[in-house]
């Protein structure tokens, strides 16, 4: 362990590890973006729709309460 530290191996791993992870995730993200067809876009540019999927409920619950109520969206008073 001491030898490893003397050679700076853990430090090198801490330095290079995130860079390699980022490269890997970036490749996956690019591949996903390339394979996603136009029909997979989530919303209609004219209407602003965001279609719920997988049986998800509309964004109406969990927003009740009497505080932090404002006229903006996401603001109907969740507490």
């Amino acid at each position: 362990m001491i030898t490893l530290h003397m050679g700076g191996v853990p430090e090198l791993a801490m330095f290079l590890g995130p860079i390699l992870l980022i490269i890997a995730f970036l490749r996956i993200a690019r591949r996903n973006e390339a394979t996603a067809g136009d029909d997979e876009d989530d919303w209609d540019a004219d209407l602003g729709d965001l279609t719920p999927t997988n049986g998800a409920e509309p964004a109406s619950t969990d927003r009740g309460g009497a505080v932090l109520t404002t006229p903006g969206r996401s603001s109907s008073g969740a507490s």
Binding site: E11, A29, E33, L50, D62, G65, G72, S79
Partner: protein, 434 residues
């Protein structure tokens, strides 16, 4: 003056400072790219909590409400009584410790664990409600949350700038003035005032959004994903101002503890100290606000879904991501301070009015500094900042997935990622560099 924070030094870190800063920033960047790879649809916006009817009945029961109201009033009476009538020595009077540690720091775990509980015990609400009125004035348009920002700015100025901020008399004057203003406004504008004007309640409610407990439309308590609760924070300019003020003031707090800063300002006169520290605080808040606003608005280069942005534009859409970051900074700054100085609050509570009492038989007992190692403090500080930023990145990404087309999602967020990485690196440097 009470030393406000006990921050671990550079020597407490298990790795070199540059590596700690790099690793923390890298953790945020890796989280972002992992989200880009595997998370392309919004999840939190569509998530409902699970109702907990039994807990709702207990919390909403009249005895519970009375108990919380009584606790709030008793705590307020003790605070203001000891501040006015206790010892004039800050080290012998519990009021400064109660205000700056128990209330200001304690509000964080209280709200995160129990959710929106502060307003149930808020003594200022109770006092205002004691004056019955049949009608209230309308709140001026566009005022939402700005009174709370102003009150918070005053409190932070007192804590970070004013040299005698921990004198019991100063605490007494501040608490009294704050209470009078808020109770008067509460009588005039009704209970709604406290939701938008009482700094401590607004702060507590913002923190409570990250709690696993919340209320649904039927006012039932629900158990929820805390990040789904966070996504319901109002998109209002005042909330953006509040969080930028919190982050900026924490940044200034760290800078004002650097030896370079104290060497420069140590010889200043009283007035000079106030002027320089005020300018420092304003500059830090302006820098943090500028960076966040620039990053949030830069995401708008991509096409934004129509109708998805609220009153505060893109900064408002992303402001909720600052909450875990602000909590991370707060934990990093106050963790050791709260655990050490918080003990002082208990010891001084034995004699709150300086009458020589020893109610809790704590005479001769001192603060136990040994139970917390410096290594643990440093680990908690860095862990809190990194976790806060990673949660911030997750929250921002989920909102971006709602705002932007899937193909633009990653690129649209690069400015926000840059800001998050800068906040992380800056935060680590602030709490660890000396």
């Amino acid at each position: 003056m009470i030393a406000m924070h006990g921050i671990g030094g550079r020597g407490d870190l298990p790795v070199p400072l540059w590596l700690a800063v790099y690793s923390a920033a890298a953790a945020v960047a890796v989280s972002f790219f992992a989200l880009s790879a595997f998370w392309s649809r919004p999840r939190f916006e569509l998530t409902a909590g699970t109702p907990v009817p039994a807990l709702t009945r207990i919390v909403d029961a009249r005895p519970t409400r009375w108990f919380l109201t009584a606790v709030g009033l008793a705590a307020f009476a003790l605070l203001i009584g000891s501040a006015w009538f206790g010892s004039s020595e800050p080290s012998l009077n519990p009021a400064p410790t109660w205000l700056y540690v128990w209330i200001w720091v304690g509000i964080i775990p209280l709200s995160l664990v129990f959710g929106p509980i502060w307003r149930l015990a808020n003594p200022l609400r109770t006092l205002a409600a004691a004056i019955p009125r049949t009608s209230y004035r309308q709140l001026p348009r566009g005022i939402a949350y700005w009174p709370a920002v102003a009150g918070l700015a005053g409190f932070l100025w007192l804590e970070l700038v004013y040299p005698e901020g921990s004198e019991p008399l100063v605490v007494a004057i501040f608490v009294t003035a704050y209470a009078v203003v808020n109770v008067a406004a509460g009588i005039l504008y009704g209970p709604r005032w406290f939701s938008i004007g009482d700094s401590f309640e607004v702060y507590a409610e913002v923190l409570a959004k990250l709690s696993p407990f919340g209320r649904n439309d039927q006012h039932q308590l629900v158990l929820r994903n805390p990040l789904a609760g966070l996504a319901t924070i109002p998109q209002e300019p005042g909330i953006v101002g509040l969080l930028c003020l919190l982050l900026g003031s924490t940044a200034f707090d760290g800078i004002s503890r650097w030896s370079a800063w104290t060497n420069l300002t140590g010889q200043l006169s009283h007035t000079g100290h106030i002027v320089v520290y005020t300018l420092g605080l304003l500059t830090a808040v302006a820098l943090v606000s500028g960076l966040f606003l620039l990053a949030a608005r830069s995401t708008g280069i991509s096409m934004v879904r129509p109708g998805a942005v609220g009153n505060a534009g893109l900064p408002g859409a992303f402001v909720h991501s600052l909450v875990p970051i602000a909590i991370g900074y707060a934990v990093a700054h106050y963790f050791s301070f709260a655990l050490f100085q918080g003990q002082e609050g208990v010891l001084l509570a034995s004699d709150p009015f300086g009458r020589g009492w020893d109610l809790f038989a704590t005479n001769g007992t001192g603060i136990d500094y040994a139970f917390l190692g410096t290594g643990l403090i440093a680990a908690v500080q860095i862990g809190a900042i990194v976790l806060g930023h990673v949660l911030g990145v997750v929250a921002a990404h989920d909102r971006a997935a709602q705002l932007f087309r899937r193909r633009q999602l990653r690129r649209a967020q690069y400015p926000m990622l840059a800001a998050m990485v800068a906040f992380t690196a800056g935060g680590i440097a602030l709490v660890t560099a000396s």
